[in-house]
Amino acid sequence: MNPSDKILVIGSGIAGMEASLMLSKAGKKVYLVERLPLIGGNVIKTGESFPNMDCSTCLVAPIQQLILQDKNITVLTVSKVEKVIGKAGNFGVSLTKKARYVNIAACLGCGMCYPVCPVSQPNFWEQGLVEKKAIYVECAGSLPNVPVIDPSLCLRLNGSEECNLCAETCIFGAIDFSEKDELLEENFAAIIVATGFSTLDARIIKNLGYGKFAGVYTAYEIERLLASNGPTEGVIKMRDGERIPEKIAIIHCAGRKEVGYCSNVCCSYPSRYAHFLTEKVPGVKIFDIYGDLCFPDKAYQKLNYETRKEKAEYLFSADLEKLEISEESDKLKIKYPDAGNQHKELLVDMAILAVAITPPAGLEDLTELLEIERDKYGFVKAETGSVNTTRDGIYVAGCATGPRDIQSSVLQSEAAVGQILRFLQD
């Protein structure tokens, strides 16, 4: 096929999905490459989205379905870009399609195979809050709704035992231990990098006690606790599985100093947390300790104002960098300088860190093999007011180029499609 009709999209988050669907609509063939076994990216981790409180799954699941049903889009999950040669208009790309060991065409997603698997591992997609088996889907409602086997942990695949339990349970014969990693060579006219983001390892932020005190959570752990398809099915409980928090502090700008920039979205989602926490935990008291508030959209500030009226007490700190969390019996003690730089203390059961957004894992390797530059923070460098990277024919969209919300990510992916179609027309 003529490479001018084929586009490679790396990353299947909201930006990658939007770009793929648009390109398909324009009659292009798309390869959508995703390193995880499921598509959807970080958006599907959130229960609801700011500021309309739309259910995220309801927003994204139809998009995921469209992607999976689209004849123009080849979805490669558990896959990776290995090599890129050539130039805009005709890139030669090598891709590894890792073995899933489960036949996507045969599997119905009935979920009979994982309970029988004898091996467990932490589920990092669920922020390590629960465990999963060696054959697993990351969460209920994963799409494609097909499990994957981790070959390093599977007793049969890592050679430790002749275990065959999952294959025996599957009446569709979908388990295929003989599947091998595949190397694909394809040509593409253009490439979109939409690899999303990671968050700062909160243990790095010394004075906040994450990892030391059980009561300290990252925002993304809370996302999963709030989500109805999360590990607690939306029930808010402390790590011991019993205690229900009575007082919660949300600490803004956690790690901002460490990364050196504002992460753009962390002022918005605490309003959403306040909304759902007060709904789910009757009588809970919520404090937001903040330095600056940043609401970059016409509709965002309003919800925050409403939250502050009813659902959360906002405490301004003149210097958030001096905020310290310590443990006092089963409570957390938060010490911080207040507006007048006076020392203040607050006792809470739970502290939620609105942690900084960082470049996604593996972006460094990817940018190197794509031969595109990164900015000083490690994000993909884009030209000003544009989605062009430093290499012709390669575009970037979403958080790969810096922290941004869903709206801004979608805007960039739509802009990238605009640029590609413009480029292919000339």
């Binding site: 309309n52 508030l293 007011g385 739509e414 499609v417 027309q425």
Partner: protein
């Protein structure tokens, strides 16, 4: 031709067959008394959605010359499209098929196999009676015009024009004033992470020289009717009053913003004689006279920057002011070495990775930053309350304020012409705030730049490219537009003309025929959501493929 109804029951492996009695379904459905005058073909299949299952279905439809098809299987969310696509390969009109969900709604939720089977049979009976009352529907194909009308010659409009214009697509760029470039054309510099000012000038030149872009200066939109691919447009030259008729397939509204007049606020009192300037006025001054001076022509020795002017009243953060006030501080620091500058802000909004470092560079230059709870201005006298609650007064030589960006009056006018909704802030309302930010409720009309909300130059450019991208995917030269088939229709005899449907239609697909005193559905715009059907008090609206009769028959049989 007599009715020949094919009913295929999917076992979904053990998912359905394990929990409902497939044999009993086949036996009972085959012998239904109420359909004894019809020919029923009832068969099970292991997995209808599999490759083999689809081939089987296709053969069955063709060989038996089916007139109606019922698939008793899973949720329509999973495989409705799958079976519709099978129909499309055969003589059977896809609207003569229906899916019955006996998996999620029967097998998976009812532990008792007999009860689950009973319910499945009832549902299938409902499906059969529904499909008998379905009517074949046919897709229409409409010619489409690939040209695009862009309203506004600012950065967003220019960028969009350059993304779109080409051999097979003309762009009509209309600008209310006589100059291109919008407010950005007043700037002497852009922010470091924004596009270069020279870039804007090049863009204007490029647009002016592009043979596929036709520029209409001093021109405004007079009238627009139509839908994606077919808009009839009238433009009006605002000096001569001459009108121009155009056809276009899509429209981008990129008509920019204006600044709130701070003097409308209770706590901001100043006159044109005072040395109080908006950030934009400073840019204008710098561009026109090359330097920043007081009204007397003297150099200012001290200045105060006031952020968030009118933010509370406007109800949103304008997001660009923190950065551009720093930019003006930069001008001052360069021109008047030793000038004392104090920056009075409520919050600092620095949404881009580069912003914080930019801000810190000014801290290093000795600028004083002060967070305030309240601030009031009288001439050049400023009274503010800092976060510790202390009241302070200062009177710098020059005061530079950042009033909120707000929607222009043309948003309202364009909203009236296009029926695109305005957000409560007066900016245009996007189709979905998160996942569809440059589209609107009307297919074919897009929004970009500061008329859809406060944004900086680079964001306006991204939005313009996004709107361009949307149009390039939706309006492909030579391709026909296929509107929704399952639309609503109005039965004239029943319509009382109360216009309730006009209010509930989210797509502007219903118009009122004054002559006949009734509402009329524009089928090219209707998406078949059914809002109007539910709201019509006199039952004059009917949703094709979801008619009362169809639903009634389905419910009736299901309850028999």
């Amino acid at each position: 031709m007599s009715d020949k109804i094919g009913i295929y029951v999917c076992e979904c492996g053990p998912n359905i067959s394990g929990r409902v009695d497939i044999d009993r379904i086949i036996a009972e459905i085959s012998n239904l008394e109420e359909f004894s005058d019809k020919e029923l073909i009832v068969k099970p299949h292991k997995l209808l959605c599999s490759v083999g299952g689809k081939a089987f279905l296709e053969e069955e439809i063709k060989n038996n010359e089916l007139t109606h098809l019922v698939c008793a299987a899973c949720s329509p969310r999973d495989h409705d499209t799958t079976f519709i696509n099978v129909c499309k390969k055969t003589q059977l009109n896809p609207y003569m098929y229906t899916i019955v969900n006996i998996r999620e709604q029967c097998a998976w939720i009812i532990p008792d196999k007999e009860k689950a089977t009973d319910k499945a049979i009832q549902y299938i009976r409902g499906g059969i009676d529904r499909v008998l009352y379905q009517e074949p529907l046919f897709e229409k194909q409409l010619e489409s015009n690939p040209d695009v009308l862009i309203i506004g010659g600012g950065m967003a409009g220019l960028t969009a024009a350059l993304v779109l214009a080409g051999k097979s697509r003309n762009v009509y760029l209309i600008e209310k004033t006589s100059i291109l470039g919008g407010k950005a054309a007043l700037f002497s510099e852009f922010l470091p992470h924004q596009s270069d000012i020279a870039d804007l000038k090049n863009k204007i030149k490029e647009v002016e020289n592009n043979q596929y872009i036709r520029i209409f200066r001093n021109t405004e939109l007079e009238k627009i009717v139509g839908f994606l691919g077919n808009f009839e447009i009238v433009l009006k030259q605002n000096q001569t009053g001459d009108t121009t008729d155009l056809l276009a397939g899509a429209v981008i509204l990129a008509n920019g913003y204006e600044l709130m007049d701070a003097r409308e606020l209770d706590n901001f009192k100043y006159t044109d004689a005072d040395n109080v300037f908006t950030g934009l006025e400073i840019e204008e001054m710098l561009t026109s006279q090359g330097k920043i001076t007081l009204r007397s022509g003297e150099k200012p020795r001290s200045a105060a920057l006031i952020h968030c002017v009118g933010r509370k009243e406007a109800g949103y953060c304008s997001q660009v002011c923190c950065n551009y006030l720093l930019k003006t501080a930069g001008y001052l620091l360069k021109q008047v070495p030793g000038i004392e500058i104090i920056d009075l802000h409520q919050d600092l909004c620095q949404p881009h990775t580069e912003d914080q470092a930019y801000f810190e560079s000014f801290k290093e230059k000795g600028m004083q930053f002060c967070r305030v709870q309240e601030v009031a201005l009288d001439g050049n006298k400023i009274e503010y309350v800092n976060m510790a609650g202390e009241k302070k007064e200062i009177a710098p030589d020059m005061v530079i304020i950042a009033p909120a960006m707000k929607a222009t009056a043309s948003n309202e006018a364009l909203s009236a012409l296009t029926s695109i909704d305005l957000h409560e802030t007066g900016f245009f309302q996007e189709a979905h705030i998160k996942i569809n930010p440059v589209s609107t409720k009307t297919d074919g009309i897009f929004i970009a730049g500061a008329s859809r909300g406060p944004c900086d130059i680079s964001e306006a450019m991204i939005q313009a490219q996004a709107a361009g991208g949307k149009i390039l995917t939706q309006l492909i030269p030579g391709e026909k537009i296929i509107p929704e088939v399952k639309v609503s229709e109005i039965l004239e005899a029943y319509c009382t003309g109360c216009k309730t449907c006009l209010d509930v239609c989210a797509y502007g697909a219903i118009y009122f025929d004054n002559e006949r005193g009734i509402s009329v559905v524009n089928e090219a715009i209707c998406r078949g959501c059914g809002n109007c059907v539910g709201s019509c008090p006199s039952g004059a609206l009917r949703s094709r493929h979801f008619t009362n009769l169809q639903l009634y028959q389905q419910v009736k049989e299901a309850l028999r």
